[in-house]
Amino acid sequence: MIDFDDVSFSYDSAEAAAASPVLREVNLHIDEGDLTLVVGRTGTGKSTLLGAINGLVPHFTGGLLSGEVRVAGRSTRTNRPRDLADVVGFVAQNPMQSFVTDRVEDELAYGMEQLGLSPTAMRKRVEETLDLMGIAGLRRRPLADLSGGQQQRVAIAAVLAAQPRVVVLDEPTSALDPTAAQDVLGAVTTLVHEVGLTVVLAEHRLERVMQVADQVAWLPGDGSVVLGPTAEVLARCDVVPPLAALADRLGWRQVPGSVRDARRRVQREHITVADAPQRRERPASEPVATMTGLGVRYGDVVAVDRVDLVLHPGTVVGLMGRNGAGKSSLMWAMQGAVPSSGDLLVAGSDPRSLPANQVGRLVTLVPQSAGDLLYLPTVAAECAQADEESGVPAGTTAATLVRLGVAVPPDRHPRDLSEGQRLALVLAIQLATEPRVLLLDEPTRGLDYAMKAQLGAIVRRLADEGTCVVISTHDVEFAAAATERTIIMADAEIVADGATRTVLTSSPAFSPQMAKVFHPRPLLSPAEVVRLPVAGRGELA
């Protein structure tokens, strides 16, 4: 269905292309009806590979492509993306940004209108697609009013309505909470199984999708692509989902495809593991922040409903919950940037009553769209500006950046940085004031496993220095590995608050994979898996 013949691609001119192409002599063949998972670290060319399938690369992005890409026998050399619209459906990362119309029904019809289908055929297909994706109830709703999961399903439905034979999805679940992600992936799996669609899907959080993949295409970063069965490719690739880390710790040569497979193998081989490590006892400390009856309202919408919360220095707190549960609003209210009611004290003062340039010493926030904070042409200029804004000696921010351990070239434009580098830069800027409380809103979006581990280490170090770090995230595995206390919000209220181990492992939706594999032992991450000597006939693989 999809063929890459000797494909090389680079965004730059010909001579630079020879030095470090994004794709180098790629040959691969994807059969009809397969679900292929594209994995690789950030910046290894996953999006380029996906774009090459429908010709967006190079027709839309520019650059030099040699070799040939064929989809259903049609070459992207002679067919522009618009000419392939009836064969390949492309769902971009952020669905809201690529919606053309403003109503669900119209959006579904848009692609078919461009293909010139007859009105009667369109009517029928819109109805079929609404049912297939289970969104018939949304048909008259404005797109802007939908939740993230609904938007993603509408985006997939809009592409499906044109009945393509291949669907390409670029990180379809990166913005979704675990339940919504399950929903979307469930829908995609149904399409593969029932409709026989060929799906190519890129994703960072492999733990969410690897069980549904038929094969994995791994981009090691040197321009090549390794395509093979999930278990084999994951066993040697540099993207390590929790189950691969587990396989590594237990000495398995094959990575189990799902939690179920891992559980069965553990039972079959009578593997016993040590108890979860005891929680480090902290000396009781004065709270650094207290909120009493904190509430946030936007017009008639109650975003945070009279929340009581106490935060202690030196802790890493995870804030989880559905999209729209009030996590971001609570964080912005803590910073004092959105109006709120109730009492709020951070290190003895109320951030709401302080001028903006003094709040930074108490509490600072790295927003979801971290790029909003950056506006200068180079990293060095941003650092210098941050020193000036925070009133700290020149060079402090640059030094913080170095201390974070992420290499960020100072002469680079902030927009040219990778997700991880940009996060590090914003983090350094926000840390220049040495805040008592650091709030991170959804920081793991677009980060690969290695970067997430690095972020986890950074927040751990900050906490050890006495900062209280609050992280809102949808990433269960990251929260399990990096936080010690977890707060779950739902419907503008806090519904659970306690030690991460207790809160996460007791909830089916937020349970990390290790806890599922070794149930009832509440293990949080592969690092906590310690194999005990086998009593009896257990064999070592």
């Binding site: 839309f60 618009r82 000419d83 492309f90 940004q97 053309v100 109503r103 109830g137 909003d372």
Partner: protein, 377 residues
């Protein structure tokens, strides 16, 4: 519970809305509303009788209040009223300050300054007369009324649906306009978000630097969005042609010739006396060539339309009311002496039965046009 049981239709309605059910009612075609509003606009422009003017504006407002939906643009009439008020106020202020009409009953006098002859001898200040003010108010009121008619069309017709229902050849322009309409609120949202984010770095600074710190992220965001949108549209087949090629050059030439014909024809007809003999055919040829070219260009584009808005009896009725209003006003202007309202000398304007009829016809769609569904946008 008993209250819920007492009014089951409330429950059913809420339930139906949740499941995307279709509610009773019918949206009138947006271009029909525009036709009606333009007809009313012609009548308003001709209405030199202040009573007829007020009646027509009332009729237009009545229709909007009866048939508008809950969509955001449906509330825009207030804005147009404010604009209309502003037009009248500005005209009155100029009449008081600069004068022009100084005859009649003097209300009060301002100190007079005569500008030198190079300023065309304009006199500032001077006597302010009742007649002058009334004449100006009525004159400005006609422009204000026209604004309200346009506002009515805006409030009643969904701008996006109006753009969806254009000839296929305009499809790409219409898409661009629809996107432009949706981008505006996104830009506002983007500005608010970035301004809020600025507080995290010590607040928005005054001066150019502060401006840059907001504008740069907003523009970057806007460019990101447009690139994502463009990529999305490209991969969904926007701009596909049946032949797979661009516009035929012969078709392009036809369209250019048609445009030249229309432009010169109109110019000659309006500007050159006695040119009618050749200007009218030129104009007609231009229009015909344009219609043909657009039709062919539309054919070449492969697009089709999903659930196009129907054009039926309600649309004919709405447009018919607009045309009838305009026709009645034209007839009144040439025959009815009561239409000629003079401020010099000031008399109470007369109202005749045909005038009442004109306003009533304009108000008819408020009663006869079908109601829009409760969830209509």
């Amino acid at each position: 519970m008993s209250r819920v049981l007492a009014r089951p239709e409330v429950v059913i309605l809420a339930d139906a809305a949740l499941q995307g059910a279709r509610l009773a009612g019918r949206t009138v075609h947006p271009w029909a509303w525009w036709g009606w509003a333009l007809g009313a606009g012609v009548a308003v422009t001709l209405a030199s009788n202040p009573l007829l003017l007020v009646l027509l504006i009332a009729a237009v407002t009545f229709v909007v209040l009866q048939r508008r939906t809950k969509a955001p643009w449906a509330r825009s009439l207030t804005l147009y009223y404010a604009l209309a008020g502003l037009v009248i106020a500005v005209r009155l202020v100029f009449q008081i300050l600069i004068g022009g009409l100084r005859e009649g009953t003097v209300l009060f006098s301002l100190p007079e300054i005569a500008l030198p002859s190079w300023a065309a001898g304009i006199r500032l200040g001077g006597p302010v007369t009742v007649e002058g003010l009334v004449y100006t108010a009525v004159d400005a009121g006609r422009l204000a009324g026209l604004l309200i008619c346009i506002g009515a069309a805006n409030a009643l017709a969904n701008p996006k649906r109006a753009l969806r229902n254009v000839p296929a050849a305009f499809h790409q322009i219409a898409t661009a306009l629809v996107i432009a309409i949706s981008v505006a609120p996104q830009l506002v949202e983007s500005v608010l978000r970035v301004r809020r984010a600025r507080r995290l770095r010590g607040g928005v600074r005054p001066g150019v630097k502060g401006l840059i710190s907001v504008i740069v992220p907003v523009l970057e965001d806007a460019i990101d969005r447009s690139l994502a949108l463009a990529a999305g549209m490209e991969s969904r087949g926007f701009g596909r042609t049946r032949t797979g090629r661009g516009l035929d050059w012969r078709l392009g030439l036809t369209l250019v010739v048609a445009m030249l014909g229309v432009t010169f024809g109109t110019f000659a007809l309006l500007g050159l006396p006695g040119a009618g003999s050749w200007a009218v055919p030129l104009l007609l040829i231009g229009l015909a060539a344009g219609a043909f070219g657009l039709h062919r260009a539309g054919d070449d584009l492969a697009t089709s339309r999903y659930r196009p808005d129907p054009w039926g009896a309600p649309e004919y009725l709405v447009v018919g009311c607009g045309l009838a209003t305009a026709a009645l006003a034209i007839w009144l202007a040439s025959t009815d002496p009561a239409m000629a309202f003079g401020a010099f000398p000031l008399t109470w304007p007369e109202l005749s039965w045909p005038m009442l009829a004109t306003a009533a016809v304009a108000a008819l769609p408020g009663l006869l046009a079908p109601e829009p569904p409760k969830d209509a946008a």
